[in-house]
């Protein structure tokens, strides 16, 4: 469904050129949940931004249903692909009520039955009507992230890009949000591309994953590989070891 071919992204700030992504390819099937892992600065979030047209793509192709994406992206693309951001404290406008956060995409994309859709979206993410006219500062981190998920879902997209959706939340809330995402995926047949540095989260959520290091794709693993700790490259072995060490002392 979503195919990335040899993607290259570089940021040019006049003096130095930073090659954030250097030739990454992967392929996401419909209904699949695909993970991208790597340490900070490995370019994993940049891949997601490049898919949305928010990072300067300098090479390679991004195909949706076999067709290259137009640049800039069309409104139709945004209806099919949505994104949930890492920090729920930064992804909601501080002066907008939840109601206006959710009604804005509907009015941009000219959806009908807005009231019902907003009510439905709030129920879907387990918030309910009582939250509709609150401001973000009246919500907790987990509740905010639910609103962000509702905002992504309200346009009824097929693909959702998840940029470390739980890393800013504490452990119990993390599980709640992950379960919510799991449920929504199975109910609606959504396709996920999920970025995380947390291997436990990825192995819980994703069938396949890509390991990235310094802008390069190191290797692709299946969930079974990850659980059996079958890694072909040194880097992945190191990464697995590091996460195991972390879990042992937890």
């Amino acid at each position: 469904m979503l195919k990335i071919e040899n993607l290259e992204v570089s940021f040019d700030n006049g003096e130095t050129v930073v090659n954030a992504v250097r030739g990454v390819s992967f392929d996401v099937k419909q209904g699949e949940s695909y993970g991208i892992v790597g340490e900070s600065g490995s370019g994993k979030s940049t891949v997601l931004r490049a898919i949305c047209g928010m990072a300067p793509t300098t090479g390679g192709r991004i195909l949706l249903d076999g067709k290259p994406l137009p640049d800039p992206r069309t409104p139709d693309f945004y209806r099919r692909v949505q994104m949930v951001f890492q920090d729920p404290y930064a992804s909601l406008h501080p002066r907008h009520t939840i109601d206006s956060v959710l009604s804005e995409p509907l009015s941009i994309q000219r959806f009908d039955r807005r009231d019902q859709r907003i009510a439905q979206a709030l129920d879907d993410v387990g918030l309910g009507q009582g939250f509709r006219f609150r401001y973000p500062h009246q919500l907790s981190g987990g509740q905010r992230q639910r609103v962000a998920v509702a905002r992504a879902l309200i346009l009824e997209p097929q693909i959702i890009l998840l940029d470390e959706p739980t890393s800013a939340l504490d452990a119990s809330i993390q599980a709640e949000v992950l379960n919510l995402l799991e449920r929504l995926r199975s109910e609606r047949g959504l396709t996920y591309v999920m970025v995380s540095h947390d291997l436990a989260v990825i192995s819980h959520m994703c069938e396949r994953l890509l390991v990235m290091e310094q802008g390069l794709a190191v290797e692709e693993l299946t969930r079974a590989d990850l659980r059996a700790r079958r890694a072909r490259t040194d880097y992945t072995t190191k990464l697995l070891k590091a996460s195991a060490g972390y879990t042992a002392t937890e």
Partner: protein, 301 residues
């Protein structure tokens, strides 16, 4: 028991209107705790009421005095509590009518300069690149003009009068707002909520107007309120130099100029309008400080 207060402070507002009113009410509660800011608000409200009800409040005609009987009466004279000027006009009445001119200057400058500054600043900040460079260099150029001197040149070219003074002040007043709005825009243009809005297919106009402007608004409003005092002083300065409001209009700056010739013997003629300018400027400054305390977006609660 549900009171209006509970309804306003409800954690679970049931409509858009309730959420909005509740938010304003919280800001108001916050503002009320600051005594000095409240004093500033009272002064400004008093100025507005004085301007609206001038014909009913003023005891005498502000333009025509009795040259035979009431010339240069000292303050606290029966019926002329602030004294009279050299043409026998009641100073209190002139001050009350003068508040209309002062308020008009302040309101018009705010209405002209604020939107221009916001528009230029947010556009420059949001688009960046050459748009930013061009707009901000223009801003820098205008910022380099000395306010009073440009106003003087402008009024000299177009002829003296309060309208031209307002235009001249507005032209020099907007650049600080543009800079402020641009700085605010730069801090929010790369935030996730703007990215999320872009991902919904929002146009640049929509993002600037609905997402960036509301966040710049509070700091600009604070700045405008604090600048009010300066604007009043500039208008009074032009009036004093004879380039603003023209006689017999009871403009405060012009009134000071009128009393200057006999300052030593009849001090009140110049001192009373001076007091009025002082009090109103102080009121706007106190109000601005108070607004900064409650509206500053960086002071997260």
């Amino acid at each position: 028991m549900t009171t209006t207060r509970d309804w306003l402070l409800s954690d679970r507002p049931a409509s858009r209107r309730q959420a909005k009113l509740g938010q304003s009410y919280r800001t108001w509660l916050d503002f009320r705790t600051n005594a000095l800011a409240f004093l500033g608000l009272l002064i400004v409200v008093a100025l507005v009421l004085m301007a609206i009800f001038a014909p009913w409040l003023a005891p005498h005609d502000p333009l025509v005095g009795d040259l035979n009987h009431t010339r240069l009466l000292p303050p606290l004279t029966e019926g002329y509590w602030l004294g009279t000027d050299d043409q026998g006009r009641d100073i209190l009445s002139r001050l009350i009518y003068g508040s209309r001119i002062t308020l008009a200057v302040v309101a018009l400058v705010a209405v002209i300069a604020t939107p221009v500054g916001l528009l230029v600043g947010t556009t420059a900040g949001y688009f960046g690149g050459w748009v930013d460079t061009v707009l901000m260099r223009i801003t820098d150029i205008v910022l380099a003009f000395p306010k009073l001197i440009l106003a003087l040149a402008f009024v000299a070219a177009l002829g003296p009068g309060i309208e031209n003074a307002i235009i001249a002040i507005s032209i020099t007043a907007w650049p600080p707002y543009a800079r402020l709005a641009r700085a605010e825009t730069l801090t929010i243009r790369n935030s996730d909520f703007i990215a999320a809005t872009k991902l919904q297919g929002a146009s640049s106009l929509r993002i600037i107007w609905k997402h960036i402007v509301p966040l710049c608004m509070s700091s600009v409003i604070i700045r405008v309120t604090l600048d009010m005092a300066g604007i009043i002083l500039t208008a009074a300065g032009l009036g004093f130099l004879g380039l603003g409001a023209q006689p017999p209009q009871p403009e405060w700056g012009a009134m000071i100029a009128g009393g200057r010739n006999f300052l030593v013997d009849y001090w009140w003629v110049a001192a009373m309008p001076g007091m009025a300018i002082f009090i109103v400027s102080l009121g706007f400054n106190l109000l601005g400080d108070g607004l900064r305390d409650v509206l500053d977006p960086k002071r997260q609660k």
